[in-house]
């Protein structure tokens, strides 16, 4: 293959996926753009944004990859039920990782802000926001990933190529929207 052929093939294969994730990212941005009041009320919330978004991709992208591999190996059936121990274990591990790392991110963010001498909301406020957002976004993303991987597989699509784009497009929107919801809830309950 010549340089030109390689470049054209890579461009054509990547453009649709990137365009789709750009649309998802823009909608996430609109939600973030509307969060200016909350970002001002809760000092340090913006520090958490990149970490929480990346966590969604890292944790639930990996869940998609695990389910895809298990389907390819014939270890699980693409059916929705709570009876399959292998699926339950994969989902539980992803949720536990997703919630726990969100809390850890909040603790680390407060420590980091204190270290560089920048203002930060109380530890309990940021941890509560991160845990609630982590749990709710985890549930939503698990439903999205499992549905897309199973339904896609039943229709003869390769789950390996489906899971990545689904997580990147829905992950940002769900991640920011749940962060906004959790922040409003915690502020309403008197934290902050």
């Amino acid at each position: 293959m010549t340089v030109r052929e390689v470049a054209l093939e890579a461009y054509r294969e990547s453009l649709p996926v990137l365009a789709l994730s750009a649309v998802g990212g823009l909608f996430a941005g609109v939600v973030l753009g509307g969060m200016d009041a909350e970002l001002q009320d809760v000092a340090g919330l913006l520090v958490l944004v990149p970490a929480l978004l990346a966590t969604r991709g890292n944790v639930y992208g990996s869940l998609g990859a695990r389910l895809g591999s298990a389907l390819h190996q014939g270890l699980i059936d693409p059916r929705f039920s709570f009876d399959d121990d292998r699926i339950n274990a994969a989902v539980a591990a992803a949720l536990a990782n997703g919630v726990l790392i969100s809390g850890v991110a909040a603790v680390m963010a407060v420590a980091l802000l204190a270290l560089v001498g920048r203002p930060s909301a109380p530890l309990a406020t940021l941890v509560a926001i991160a845990l609630i957002a982590g749990f709710v976004s985890g549930l939503l993303l698990t439903i999205a990933v499992v549905s897309v991987v199973f339904v896609g597989y039943r229709r003869g699509l390769n789950p390996d190529t489906l899971a990545g784009p689904v997580v990147t497009t829905t992950g940002d929107v769900v991640g920011i929207a749940t962060l906004l919801g959790a922040t409003r809830l915690v502020l309403a309950l008197g934290g902050g």
Partner: protein, 172 residues
């Protein structure tokens, strides 16, 4: 998996701190705030697609680490072309959405220019990071599928914020 997540989170918090330092500018111009997730996401995606293509080429024995390598050069050109195609549209989209919803303080061409400059720079950085990481995996005899994609995605996320910060400082 958890220890890796902690390391990746620590890296991402670094970019969060950069965001925090220019929170004032972002809150003043919400169309720039709209650009934050999409710039981070696109930077990570450009890097991870390139990393996946390099890893596959590497496994198939098709990749050599020379500047004259067709596959290396072709994928690098495609990455820059993708960034130059999509980032101006992303900038225009961010400006349009923010104008419809809340009104913007910045002119369209400033937001498009910030997106285009950030995107072009990020494409070049993604190529450098991906090539170096893939080469390092090869030298240390690690499977590039395991190592390169998480490293490249998260490093590109951080670079996304840093480059956006630089572009905003210079252009706004």
């Amino acid at each position: 998996m958890f220890p890796i997540l902690v390391v990746l989170t620590a890296i991402e918090l670094g970019s969060g701190l950069v965001l925090d330092t220019f929170e004032g500018t972002l809150l003043q111009y919400p169309s720039l705030l709209v650009l934050v997730p999409v710039t981070i996401g696109m930077a990570g995606n450009l890097g991870s697609i390139l990393a996946a293509r390099f890893s596959t080429a590497f496994h198939l024995g098709l990749l050599s680490f020379a500047a004259t390598d067709d596959r290396l050069a072709g994928n690098a050109i495609a990455t820059v072309a993708l960034a130059v195609t999509l980032f101006p549209l992303v900038g225009a989209g961010a400006w349009l959405l923010q104008t419809v919803i809340g009104g913007t303080a910045l002119p369209l061409r400033t937001v498009v220019l910030v997106a285009l400059v950030s995107g072009s720079l990020l494409a070049v950085l993604a190529i450098v990071v991906t090539t170096v990481t893939t080469y390092a995996a090869y030298r240390f005899e690690l499977d590039p599928d395991d190592v390169v994609i998480p490293v490249v995605t998260n490093v590109c996320d951080v670079l996304g914020v840093v480059v956006l910060f630089g572009a905003v400082r210079v252009l706004v």
